[in-house]
């Protein structure tokens, strides 16, 4: 049985005059690492909210079709019931932070789920050290820089130990080094057992980790496949997807009659292919 299944799912926000999601069919299995990308406004955040039940439980509106997550129909379960299954890192980290300091923020989720206090402490300490938050431990979440807030938001979602991590542009405020660090952590957790669904515009950073890219445009899924299949499609540039530069070099070489052995997603991969071909 798939872990997540969208069955002809459509959604229109209350008061809106168009569908944010249009007849979406999507199946995601346990252990996958799926990148959702597509132009601004195409419905990526709405799709994320659907997986953890915020749509339709919190964001109301017209719905058709069903979304089944880990056997539960999101029409019939509260956001709290969905919380250990699908943990969402919000696009705007500040909107996710609700407590008075970083330590409390990370503990907040698991405490509310009734996790044993000793285990909560253990998770808080582990995440503070893993995400390099020691110097921020006592700070008020609203008195931090954008990138610091984003790291805390990621930590508090990971503290839930969700079966599925849904992260909505989790690197948008991060400096390149901490983006790398966070993506490495996510990739390791995925290899262990966490299913990952990540919304991202900066495909140069994440494509190498993912097993699959789902491309959206205007509320629909317009392509779905492995990163190397999807990123060479002209459709990507047509709708405004940020194709990694290494992949773009591959594409323009091919136009000039030079076919490299495979599609590179990173600078190293491109260099190695060139060295092999020479």
């Amino acid at each position: 049985m798939p872990l997540i299944e969208f069955q002809d799912f459509s959604f229109k926000y209350y008061g809106a005059d168009f569908l944010a999601l249009k007849k979406v069919n999507l199946t995601i299995n346990e252990g996958e690492y799926v990148i959702i990308t597509g132009p601004s406004g195409c419905g990526k955040t709405t799709l994320c909210r659907t997986i953890n039940g915020l749509v339709p439980q919190f964001h109301r509106g017209y719905i058709a079709g069903n979304v089944i997550v880990d056997g539960m129909n999101t029409r019939e379960h509260t956001v709290a019931e969905m919380a250990t299954i699908a943990g969402l890192v919000f696009q705007q980290p500040e909107n996710q932070l609700v407590t008075l300091n970083v330590e409390k923020e990370i503990a907040f989720g698991p405490e509310n789920l009734g996790v044993d206090p000793v285990e909560v402490r253990r998770r808080v300490e582990e995440l503070i050290s893993l995400l390099d938050l020691e110097h921020l431990r006592d700070k008020h979440p609203h008195e931090m820089s954008g990138g610091e807030q984003q790291r805390v938001a990621i930590a508090s979602t990971l503290a839930l130990k969700p079966k599925i991590l849904v992260a909505d542009e989790p690197t948008s405020n991060l400096d390149p080094k901490s983006a790398e660090l966070i993506l490495d952590i996510i990739s390791k957790l995925n290899k262990r057992d966490m299913t990952v669904i990540l919304v991202e515009h900066r495909l140069d950073l994440v494509s190498k980790d993912a097993s699959r890219i789902v491309l959206m445009d205007r509320g629909r899924i317009v392509a779905d496949g492995s990163p190397r299949e999807i990123l060479v499609m002209d459709l990507c540039q047509e709708i405004g997807v940020g194709v990694p530069k290494a992949t773009l070099v591959y594409k323009s070489l091919r136009k000039r009659g030079i076919d490299l052995e495979s599609v590179p997603l990173t600078g190293e991969e491109l260099a190695n292919l060139v060295k092999e071909a020479a």
């Binding site: 926000y13 008061g15 809106a16 597509g38 132009p39 601004s40 406004g41 990526k44 955040t45 696009q91 705007q92 500040e94 909107n95 700070k139 008195e143 931090m144 820089s145 954008g146 990138g147 610091e148 790291r151 909505d168 542009e169 948008s172 405020n173 991060l174 400096d175 390149p176 080094k177 901490s178 983006a179 790398e180 515009h201 900066r202 140069d204 540039q237 709708i239 405004g240 997807v241 940020g242 194709v243 990694p244 530069k245 290494a246 773009l248 070099v249 323009s252 070489l253 000039r256 030079i258 990173t266 600078g267 190293e268 491109l270 260099a271 190695n272 060139v274 060295k275 071909a277 020479a278």
Partner: protein, 274 residues
């Protein structure tokens, strides 16, 4: 001309966010500020329009200490787009949001309307003009915040993380608008983590860490300095990584290539053996 002279700033007296920052930005420059999360970039740009005032040191605009100006007076010269659009947007329609800023600065209704329409269409927001900013997607909301400042074409534009939430096409549109404004003589200052956006659009880069400036100079030399890269938590862009690695085997390929067309040309040369 903007001059910062040994600027210090501490939030609530405990967290020292700026520890003696000095810099000069001339009229018509395009400057990028990059660096570690928490380095003080946002704190720095807020000193420019008076949202924050230095605790020590001074900020000059055209030779006048800005402590003599109110925030409203500075706003006529310096337009700031904040990192988080939620801190900036407060009206219930996109159009009202843009027109408000224009009217504040004294543009006539007619002129304001023309500018509003033009800016909305340049940023791909024309179909959203009646919408409430609070029902928009993250990227759309950021573009509304950008539009409200870009429409006024201030002498100095300061954009804190303008590419957050933007797809490749929107980023190109934005770069084009910034170039057009710069050609009209506007100074453009951006804070960003997007190294490719910087390489393609900004000739000068200031790199920060721990409340100080670590490097300030031509983008190409600042961003190819390994020491700066490490200290300011940056990483080399894909094309540079590829060029370096190819250079290690084919020394005739320059290791500092940052533009796609150049690297492509070199690879063709290597593979065709010409």
């Amino acid at each position: 001309m903007i001059i910062l002279e040994n600027v210090h700033f501490a939030y609530d007296g405990i967290y020292t966010a700026l520890q003696g920052v000095s810099l000069q930005i001339g009229d018509g420059e395009r400057v990028a500020i990059m660096g570690t999360n928490g380095a003080g970039k946002t704190t720095l740009v807020k000193q420019l329009n008076g949202l924050l005032r230095p605790h020590r040191g001074r900020v000059f605009l055209d030779g006048v200490d800005t402590k003599r100006y109110s925030v409203a007076e500075l706003a006529r010269e310096i337009g700031l787009v904040m990192q988080n659009p939620d801190h900036q947007l407060f009206l219930d329609s996109v159009e009202k949001e843009i027109l408000f800023g224009l009217k504040q600065l004294g543009f006539s209704s007619e002129d304001a309307r023309v500018r509003c329409e033009k800016t909305l269409s340049n940023l791909g927001l024309e179909h959203l003009s009646e919408r409430s900013p609070f029902t928009l997607s993250g990227g759309e909301r950021k573009r509304v915040a950008l539009a409200s400042v870009l429409a006024t074409e201030p002498r100095v534009l300061v954009l804190d993380e303008p590419t957050i939430g933007q797809d490749a096409k929107q980023k190109e549109n934005l770069a084009q608008m910034l170039q057009d404004l710069n050609e009209k003589g506007r100074t453009v200052i951006v804070v960003t983590h997007d190294i490719e956006f910087v390489i393609e659009n900004f000739p000068r880069t200031i790199a920060m860490a721990n409340g100080t400036i670590v490097a300030d100079g031509p983008t190409n030399s600042v961003l190819s300095n390994d020491d700066v890269i490490v200290r300011c938590s940056l990483t080399a862009p894909q094309l540079t990584i590829a060029a370096r690695s190819i250079h290690s085997v084919f020394p005739e390929v320059p290791e500092r290539l940052t533009l796609l067309s150049n690297l492509e040309g070199e690879i063709v040369r290597v593979l065709r053996g010409v």
